[in-house]
Symmetry: none
DNA sequence: GTGGTCTAGACCACA
DNA sequence: GTGGTCTAGACCACA
């Protein structure tokens, strides 16, 4: 089973879809620190997209510190814990803000919890 | 006790701060359908801002269907239930989206519920 | 065949629907000057509505000079020509205004004529 | 020659007169998609009105999708074709309604066409 | 009294 | 330079 599926209805560019899918896989521990990512060419052919598109994904992932690329060797996951904490902190801040807003407009905590458990 | 307090750390314009405060008060039932809102001038003097600023708040609230204004008479709350449903629907949609995203990056439902109950 | 048909989808009050139907019938010459209108009761029962509703229609028609009511005799069409001219004048003024506006927004006279002849 | 002339006999507020004049100019193709509109301040001084008045005109034009405003850059015409279709549709609907009403009160199609060609 | 519009002019953010 | 917000204060229509 493929780990990455492109979504035709998603209006973001492909390189960005692939980028956020890879970030998710790293955060979920499917790829761990120092694990090699698939090569640009192999991932491109698996998804039937142009290698340039995947190249762009990898370049951006490296720029943001998710992976390191070693010439002639490949790309490897890096800084998992830093990234995990960063992402979790941002999400938590958004979540708390939205919960506060919900309370202000009269939505009960029970209703919120129900929405989560559903 | 004043119902509305301006927050100088809030970077939104004053007319918008007052607007969202009034929306909250309507959603929470502090102002009910057909209740008169304070007049433009009286609210302006209570908050020590220019009447034009409050005028703008009321114009936008009317445009969005929160209140109806009768010339020479004043402004009155309108459509409370419609607005309640609209606002709740939008909030719920945002919330569900954020919860999904949280799950994707590995945040447990327990952690989310904890953030709500805190 | 009944001359007046109520329209369920019309959101105006019944007395007003009947009123404008009667005005049309007078303007079109179905009822001529001095002709008697149906009695309040007979028209009410024909349309299956409350006589008070038709009473209101007739009161308003009299107030605006379309008919005269003679106690014990009934209601009669009056001032047909005055009303014809008034109505035509108002309609023409609206029409000319709308045509001007159409030209301003780039609608050709040919297009307008086509809309009429269709 | 000035493209916009204020009409002191027009009882609508200035900001609204200017607004509908600009809409006409866009519909007639005097301003095309992506064209810059005059800046708030320059149009205000050209018409000898307060910049706030023109500011209001531009804010409403943006809210209704006629223009897009880029802070520090200026305001630009947008969505010409969408707006053309919208406006034409509304006008046609009003026109057809008025023609129907005219027929009901006994005005001949010939008379209508004459009013248009005059 | 109420809201609606407008002027004159300041100050801010963005580019 | 551009637009966005705000103050201070006038004058109008409506009731």
């Amino acid at each position: 089973m493929a780990l990455i599926l492109l979504d035709y209805k998603d209006r973001r560019p492909i390189y960005e879809q692939v980028k956020s899918k890879l970030e998710e896989l790293i955060l979920l521990g499917v790829f761990n620190e120092s694990d090699p990512l698939p090569s640009v060419r192999s991932l491109a052919s698996e998804l039937s997209v142009n290698p340039n598109t995947i190249q762009r994904t990898y370049t951006e992932l490296e720029r943001e510190g998710w992976i390191v690329t070693i010439k002639g060797r490949g790309s490897f996951v890096s800084n998992v814990n830093v990234k995990k904490m960063e992402t979790e902190k941002n999400w938590t801040s958004d979540f708390v803000k939205l919960v506060d807003e919900g309370i202000k407009i009269g939505i009960s905590k029970e209703k919120m919890i129900e929405l989560i458990e559903k």
